[in-house]
Symmetry: C2
Subunit: 181 residues, 2 copies
DNA sequence: AGGCTCATGTAAACGGTTACATGATTAC
DNA sequence: GTAATCATGTAACCGTTTACATGAGCCT
């Protein structure tokens, strides 16, 4: 269970509904931990059963009722225990590199198209990250602890995207030069 | 099914047993696609059932018999179809950044210890990658297509590790400066 | 009229991890 | 003696993804 931890972390900021969590995930933690709405709803049920969160139903007349979740003391304890447990580096699943591993046996044009698409993806993403950076974190050294953590997430995002863009360019060059074969 | 594709790619080089595949994975594709022995064995059974690979039992007197798997024409077709299907960028699961997101609420020393451990991990890994690079890919432009794909995998590995190391240092500095809070 | 946002859920299938199970040979 | 290497498997569990299901209000 690790999505539950990401949810708890998000609930530290404020009580939220499953829907709220889904939206905030998209803009924030979701860049480091993807989660769909359905997954969040299911996880919240389990977490409520386990006593990590409380659910309060807020009646609405025009819309389905909202269920607002808040972290409990048990939840805070769970977070603390999790924080104290060493994190393994994420296990990589890079399908594109598996494809590249088959270079020479599979179509070169197809791979080039993939690389170009990937390049554009990273360009778009870095633009987004840089926008957030300019708007919210212009001077990292002046930030409070809590904001520093978020800044560092963004910072890794930007560095990683730069790396990916650089690599994509190299890869496109090297693959398109129809070398010795 | 995506491990199956990685297995097929590895079988393009030569027929192999589940055990062989496991070992080669550790040194090669495994850096982009982790897989345990058990997983590989199970996957091979499924793939044999589906006709993507053939299994030939090679009797051994002193050891358990080996089962050597080879890719079939169906398997080659599956690979081709897979290659033609666009790859989504991997969905990120970076637990450490989720922790960083909770900076201010969880213990700073614990996070610093994590960051230092991560730093060392990346140092070790880049040393390994650079060793392989020096030994096998000294001149990328002279490589054949097949080797170029592998070189690019390694190249991304090195760039990523450099990025991670740089980020770890920044993160350690910023987190340890007990700033305004 | 069509699409987006708000709002919550269930169920099945899939993929990956961990634990369990066995056992001989080789090298230190 | 102990650990590593060779060699193959089964079963349970867990977490993720995808498909299915519903429905009102708002904006163009």
């Amino acid at each position: 269970m690790a999505l539950s931890h990401a949810i708890l972390v998000s609930l530290l900021d404020r009580p939220q509904t499953g829907y709220d969590l889904g939206k905030r995930f998209e803009r924030t933690v979701g860049f480091f931990w993807k989660a769909s709405n359905q997954q969040i709803y299911q996880e919240l049920h389990k977490m409520a059963d386990a006593g990590w969160v409380t659910a309060e139903t807020v009646a609405q007349s025009d819309r389905p009722n909202r269920k607002v979740y808040d972290i409990t003391d048990t939840g805070r304890q769970v977070l603390e225990d999790w924080a104290a447990t060493p994190t393994d580096p994420p296990s990589v699943k890079e399908e594109l590199l598996v494809k590249l591993f088959a270079l020479g046996d599979i179509n070169t044009e197809t791979i080039l198209a993939e690389l170009r698409r990937r390049h554009d993806f990273h360009k778009t993403r870095i633009a987004y990250y840089e926008g957030v950076m300019r708007e919210y974190y212009p001077e990292p050294k002046k930030l409070k602890a809590r904001q520093r953590g978020r800044y560092l997430g963004l910072r890794l995002g930007i560095l990683s995207e730069q790396t990916s863009i650089k690599w994509c360019k190299e890869a496109i060059d090297l693959v398109s030069e129809s070398g010795s074969e």
